[in-house]
């Protein structure tokens, strides 16, 4: 509209003058702006040139990895302890989480408040995160406080106090934290799914109930600490201006007094396959919508299936352009959203399909999700669809390490699982190598199995839709309440 607006109608021009004017003015503009009609071609994909991860092992067994970043006046440190929630004793799930939370809660001569204040005075921040297989402590600060910060971190790791008053505080915080999360139907679905899918497997301990913490005492925490918090069971990652040699000197100075010790590692068999697909329910009276979570156990991050699974997930439900969203939301209008995700760990992985749907179409949404799985297990993915998924993953990869924390967390995962360059500088090539055949093989092997279908919603709206199935009804903590047999209507 606006381009033509520059054409002024002067005093009564003849038809020919108009045509001439058109040819001289409008037509050339149109012609030269033909490029606006269709999307431009991209440039060739640049080669990935991420900074190298250089590693060494200190004399006490502490692993050290350094990534040099110029123009980066902050130092980012991640300390990985190679023990996560799966290492908690079976009768005490949550000990790993609780122990990790105690590290910044005081030393013999420094109170918890003082630790926080000191970290803040370094322009710093500190956090702890407990995963299935490992625990990460993250500390970032201004580079001119490097020695002070290393000294503090080293003391926090070597001599945490586990003081009674702080234990009570952490107990209270964790209790409310989990209670708050339990308001979210998706959290409940994942919580119960873990308990069913990983029934006899250590990963089950990731589902921590809020009453888990009430019986913990100092001894439980110190036992866990003394068993796993050893330099030969830890790895430090440093991102900043320092190179490996300089970093090794600094880290040795502050961490060499941390003495090594024997760490026993339990052998973890992979999770058992389910005998049948199970429909499991958690009742949330008057819920406005239904949360659906379908879960499969899949091979570990170190298996050859890792990259095919990443591509498979992308095709099935990685983004709004993927199959699940296009089917359940765009085509059928059942769901507010429908995605899938794949989380790969040391011993195995978890593949989930998650959606939030209108209660009256809960069953229809489950049926469509299972059909999508059936389709991907039985029919190879067409090439154009596969290529689209791969180009998304390649384009998106730098965004997954864009922020300060996601950058160092990716390096931490690589070190924690001992991953190759395939997850760093060779990522593009490894995605490109995946073809329809490999994905098809992986899909058959991993998703052609029985699954747990978790439904969180109002049972009175939904049970009728499920009368053709046996439905196990659980409470939000994962305790079986009762079973609705096939054909029975509530």
């Amino acid at each position: 509209m606006r381009i033509e607006a520059s054409f002024h109608d002067s005093a009564r021009p003849s038809r020919w003058t108009l045509l001439l004017l058109f040819v001289l003015t409008v037509a050339p503009i149109r012609a030269q702006e033909r490029f606006r009609r269709s999307p431009p071609f991209p440039n060739p994909l640049p080669k990935l040139a991420l900074p190298a991860i250089r590693s060494t092992v200190l004399s006490n067994g502490l692993g050290l990895s350094v990534v040099q970043k110029e123009n980066h006046p902050l130092v980012n440190l991640n300390l990985i302890i190679m023990a996560g929630e799966s290492a908690s004793p079976d009768e005490l799930p949550g000990v790993a989480t609780f122990t990790a939370r105690m590290l910044d809660k005081g030393l013999l001569d420094i109170s918890a408040n003082r630790i926080h204040e000191t970290i803040e005075s370094y322009g710093g921040s500190f956090s702890a995160e407990v995963h299935q297989d490992y625990t990460i402590f993250s500390l970032s600060f201004l580079e001119n406080y490097l020695d002070d910060a290393l000294d503090l971190l080293s003391r926090m790791v070597r001599e945490p106090l586990f003081n009674r008053r702080e234990i009570d505080n952490v107990q209270r915080v964790l209790f409310y934290d989990i209670e708050y999360k339990m308001r979210d139907p998706e959290f409940i679905a994942k919580h119960v799914l873990y308990k069913i899918l990983f029934k006899d497997h250590p990963y089950k301990k990731m589902a921590i109930d809020n009453d888990a913490f009430k019986n913990f005492n100092r001894r439980h925490l110190t036992t866990f600490y003394n068993t796993y918090y050893k330099p030969n069971n830890a790895h430090l990652i440093l991102v900043g201006k320092l190179n490996l040699a300089a970093a090794t000197r600094k880290i040795s100075r502050h961490f060499s007094t941390w003495s090594r010790g024997e760490v026993k590692r339990a052998i973890m068999p992979p999770p058992k396959d389910l005998e049948s697909t199970r429909i499991c329910f958690v009742n949330q009276p008057k819920a406005k919508d239904t949360a659906i979570l379908i879960g499969f156990t899949v091979p570990s991050i170190n298996s050859a299936d890792a990259f095919p699974l990443i591509v498979l997930n992308q095709v099935l439900g990685g983004t709004p352009n993927s199959r699940l969203f296009m089917n359940l939301r765009e085509s059928k209008g059942y769901a507010y959203y429908a995605f899938s995700s794949v989380d790969l760990f040391k011993n195995c992985g978890l593949f989930t399909l998650r959606s939030r749907v209108r209660p009256e179409v809960s069953y229809a949404a489950i049926r469509e999700s299972l059909r999508e799985i059936e389709r991907i297990v039985n029919l190879p993915i067409p090439n154009h669809e596969l290529e689209q998924a791969k180009s998304y993953l390649i384009g998106n990869f730098p965004l997954t390490i864009h922020s300060m924390s996601s950058f160092i967390n990716r390096i931490s995962t690589i070190r924690a699982y001992n991953l190759s360059e395939a997850f760093w500088n060779q990522y593009y090539e490894n995605i490109m190598l995946i073809n329809s055949g490999t994905v098809f093989q992986t899909a058959r092997r991993t998703l052609g199995k029985n699954a747990v279908v978790m439904i969180v919603g109002d049972i009175y709206t939904i049970s009728d839709q499920l009368r053709d199935f046996q439905v196990e009804v659980y409470d939000p903590h994962g305790d079986l309440q009762y079973i609705i047999n096939k054909g029975a209507v509530e």
Partner: protein
């Protein structure tokens, strides 16, 4: 013919002798700025550390440009910008960006409407094509207006249901900013949104969405030789807007005097209160110490109010707030939620005692050093990713009409002394206090 780029500045953080204890970190990054023939201002900030680029574009239009009875129009236009333009189908902008692995977002404030996407760098031109097309030829049809209206009304209803404090927060906003242009929330009044016509949207678009009312920032990895010709190709032939209308309602220069009110609502789950002060404009030199005051009071677990109210006394279970900027006006607000009326009174007294203390005694050196370290670290983080950098550069440019050297900006904060803080505390946190007491009906 003007030769481009007109200005190229290299900005860097310098170690300056102003700081005795706190040394500003040395960090350099290139930034250049120039204006196209049609008035579009362009900011370029190159950083090749990752193969990513952020393309951000801001239009100088927001809720203060809306006239009476037309509230929510600016926010609606933000949404309509995704409903297709001459060569792009409705929502295709979003799917183009998603398909290549990028992320995108948009936002409307009182004085600007912002669109940005972070994408793999080899796809940079795609974003230029998409942004240029909707700047030049947005398709405004009744069907898209109906669709957007419905989704905006749903969104407002959801927000009201989800956030029991939304209504009182907006009420407090009106106490602090009584000027009529701030009397409505950015998302608009529901009754006005229902009445918006396609002509309103078309008029608004043609009045404000032009190159001479916009700033484009490209930050991240790009080819130096390629970028300027590409920007010119896609943007320079877009005709400028002839006359950009100023906001229809003028803003009072002088801040209003303080007020105390009680707000009763059945939605309010627990007792609480707002406390606020009108403070200097972000363009005023007092703004630098005011930002540090925000840190002293509220940032981090060891800040004065957090440590006293949350950790020591447990008189509050939620405490938030800070500086709230609306174009060139600003206020300092504190929001406290308590368990009961008794702890509410305690929290109120404790805040007053902390403010009093800061009005009368200079902040100890050690605490002030901590504040400055925290500030420097946060300041650096604002320039960390290409997206952070683009948004920061655009916001600063819109506010100050120039690219500000971050090292000089940082120096102004670090030059603040404990004595300045005392003076500023007395100037802005003395009389003229606004408070809103929240009670459940």
């Amino acid at each position: 013919m003007k030769r481009l780029p007109a200005i190229v500045v290299v900005l860097c953080f310098l170690t300056s002798p102003v700081f005795s204890v706190q040394e500003a970190p040395s960090l350099t990054f290139p930034v250049s700025g120039f204006t196209l023939k049609n008035g579009l201002h362009v900011i370029l900030a190159q950083d090749n550390s990752l193969p990513l680029v952020t393309v951000a574009i801001a239009y100088r239009v927001g809720s203060i440009n809306e006239s009476r009875g037309k509230t929510g129009l600016a926010h609606m236009l933000e949404n309509l910008m995704f409903q297709g333009s001459r060569h792009i189908a409705p929502m295709q902008h979003v799917s183009f960006i998603h398909k290549i692995g990028g992320t995108m977002n948009a936002a409307t404030t009182e004085d600007k409407t912002l669109f940005y996407q972070t994408i793999p760098s080899h796809q940079l031109v795609l974003a230029l094509w998409l942004e240029a097309d909707r700047m030049m030829s947005l398709r405004l049809e009744s069907s898209s207006i109906i669709r957007v209206k419905q989704s905006l009304l749903d969104e407002i209803r959801n927000r009201k249901e989800r956030d029991p404090f939304l209504a009182c927060s907006l009420y407090f906003d009106r106490m602090l900013f009584p000027d009529e242009s701030y009397h409505h929330p950015v998302f608009g009044k529901e009754s006005d949104i229902r009445m918006v016509t396609i002509e309103d949207a078309r008029r608004f678009y043609s009045q404000y969405y032009g190159p001479n009312n916009a700033v484009l920032c490209i930050s991240g990895s790009f080819d130096d030789d390629e970028i300027i010709p590409q920007i010119k190709k896609y943007f320079e032939t877009i005709p400028p807007i002839k006359q950009i209308p100023p906001p229809s309602i003028s803003v009072h220069e002088n801040p209003p005097g303080g007020r105390e009110e009680i707000y009763e609502d059945y939605m309010i789950p627990l007792p609480g209160f707002y406390l606020g002060y009108r403070i200097a404009s972000p363009l005023h030199e007092d703004f630098y110490p005011l930002v540090l005051i925000e840190y002293i009071l509220l940032h981090g677990m060891s800040s004065r109010l957090q440590s006293r109210l949350i950790r020591r006394e447990r008189s509050a279970f939620r405490l938030s707030g800070g500086i709230d900027i609306k174009k060139d006006l600003a206020a300092f607000r504190i929001f406290v939620q308590n368990n009961n009326e008794a702890t509410k009174e305690l929290a109120r007294r404790s805040i007053q005692s902390e403010l009093n203390n800061m009005r009368n005694f200079p902040i100890p050196d050690r605490e002030f050093d901590k504040i400055k370290s925290m500030f420097i670290a946060d300041f650096i983080k604002q320039y960390y990713t290409s997206e952070d950098k683009a948004l920061r550069l655009i916001n600063t440019y819109l506010l100050k009409n120039k690219i500000e050297d971050p090292s000089q900006e940082l120096a102004k904060y670090l030059a603040v002394t404990p004595a300045t803080i005392v003076g500023i505390m007395n100037r802005y946190f003395g009389r003229d206090q606004f408070s809103l007491d929240l009670k459940r009906k």
